[in-house]
Assembly symmetry: C2
Homo-oligomer: 350 residues x 2
């Protein structure tokens, strides 16, 4: 891997300097090519308990549509995650539908009569024993969750970006303020932790941290505060990251397969993208939602994500921030956390 | 408007302080409600010459699908914009198709045989007299384009956000670095200019500036550099802002109506989201593309955008960065430039 990283660094020098080079420029690897070269040890298997298999009704041509959701790992949002497993195991989600598709925002699924004042009394009764969460649960204490050493390790991915931004600054091709900070308009600090994009309200261990709303992340619909949602209503992001929802709604996971079945659904023309009464036929039925570990062994999907504390992830994040593969002529010098999607793939032996 | 701005500020104080207040909290306006209160003078009509009407084939149920594109106004990307009008007036776009739909990235339309080595010689001949653009044309000189006073005026929208971030900082509810800068991971400066989201590589007038890739922005497909594209291949962003494309591809406009007809198209399963040979039936035919000013007067669409240098836009941008309408409990304290979409609407008398 080091060999390729050096080639990439030399390609940057070539790109950002007008000085003639003796050597030919070497095509740098794309971020995906970097990921392809990760070692097997850098991939982390997703526990079966953390995978949901959501089967939508077949499409108009009869093709099956299966969506796989990864629930958040500890220590994030665990109250909702436990509720969601309870909903799935009670088969409560079976027979609900996608009721809201708002362009550049979210797709939301749940009880079609949720939040419909005209359907009072007709909503699906919730399973017993659900946890009641509060807005305090949207964030966690950094100190309680992580040893500082682990945190520093996790931050490596961005340190490389900062170094590179400095190099670009020295090249005088462009000015760059705050080159050594992990720039995020929404928080004091943004970084990857345990495979998830997160942010914090400070750099110290006294800070609070939270998972952030990127494309494909899954969150919990709710009414007005203090309601923090049970997990009966879920949504996923189908547009530009709505980071203003961070710390206002619980993030509980992400779509790892089948995103296109949700993102390409017809948009609803009602308020907030809900389907109007005339459009009820556009609601996509959800046939079943199962926790993968409850399925027969041969039907269990197997996925893994690239360790966000690995050397390859560091190189991948740096390459996302500074594209040097042949199509690109001007590396950006930075990337926002939602433009560095965590690589996820079916397990090779799955 | 001042009345509501004050109410919003007092709502913030209530939200970010645990100190009991004598007065009841007042529901703050949502960003859209702020826009609804803009005066007629704050809306700027889009010239008919800058609007393209792209008619797709009707959908499977026979419903019409019309997409309206606003071409960039001077001084941005004018070489490509001139080419695009030439393509439209030569009716070159009539009969092409949407050939690529890549989830969380772009929808691209053009000659179905573009860039297909097996179709050599079968591509559609281009109109004569097209401009040949270069990568130098991806950016413009700030000095050449704008008087400094105008620029300062345009920056007002972010000054309010910075003030608010400072107030939030003082409330000690969260730390915030760089509160007084317009934070952008991809540039030295990001701001709205003449109705468009833009970025620059410095704050001075010596800097270069460019339009940025947000959701719904339209760009020009190209091959490997030095090819900078002619305008024959166009795409729009259907996912998280791919800001790494800034300064690497020409941005030439945005979708102002009918975005949902493009963003909800089935994704292609080939490389880069192109439809494979087995999927050619999924290509959406483009029947016609017309410059609005060439249409009969009664068929010309009329749109207007909120002046990005207006007082209302300033308040809107600030409210996007600090949501205080009733659903929200924690204002973000900032927003990235692509999470502040420029308000656009059909002209009330159109």
């Amino acid at each position: 891997m080091n060999k390729h990283f050096m080639l990439a660094a030399s390609a940057l020098a070539f790109t950002t300097s007008a000085i003639a080079q003796d050597s030919e420029p070497v095509a740098a690897l794309s971020p995906n090519q970097i990921v392809e070269q990760a070692s097997a040890e850098e991939w982390i298997a997703i526990p079966e308990e953390d995978l949901l298999v959501m089967t939508l009704a077949p499409d108009a041509q009869g093709n099956p549509r299966e969506v796989i959701i990864q629930l958040m790992s500890a220590p994030f949002s665990q109250g909702w995650v436990e509720n969601i497993r309870k909903f799935a195991r009670a088969k409560w989600y079976d027979g609900i539908s996608v009721n809201r598709v708002q362009d550049n925002y979210v797709v939301q699924w749940g009880d079609p009569n949720y939040d419909n004042p005209e359907a009072a009394g007709e909503t699906k009764p919730l399973p017993e024993g659900l946890k009641v969460l509060t807005e305090e649960d949207y964030t966690i204490s950094k100190r309680a969750a992580f040893a500082q050493a682990m945190l520093r390790k996790a931050k490596r991915g961005f340190a490389a970006m900062a170094e590179d931004a400095k190099a670009a600054l020295q090249s005088k091709r462009f000015e760059r303020r705050n080159a050594t900070t992990r720039i995020d308009p929404y928080s004091a600090d943004a970084f990857f932790q345990f495979g998830w994009p997160t942010a914090a309200d400070g750099e110290s261990l006294q800070a609070r941290m939270w998972p952030v709303h990127c494309y494909g992340m899954v969150g919990v619909g709710r009414g007005y505060s203090p309601d923090a949602g049970s997990g009966a209503e879920l949504y996923t992001v189908i547009g530009h990251a709505p980071r203003h929802l961070d710390r206002n709604i619980a993030v509980v996971g992400r779509i790892v397969e089948g995103m296109q079945y949700l993102s390409s659904l017809p948009r609803g023309s009602g308020a907030l993208g809900f389907y109007t009464e005339e459009e009820f036929a556009k609601r996509t039925p959800i046939l079943t939602v199962r926790v993968a570990s409850d399925l027969p062994a041969n039907e269990q999907p197997q996925f893994e994500f690239l360790d966000t504390e690995s050397e390859t992830f560091t190189k991948y994040a740096e390459a996302r921030a500074n594209r040097r593969d042949p199509f690109f002529i001007m590396p950006a010098g930075g990337a926002d956390i939602c433009n560095i999607p965590v690589p996820i793939r079916p397990a090779p032996n799955g």
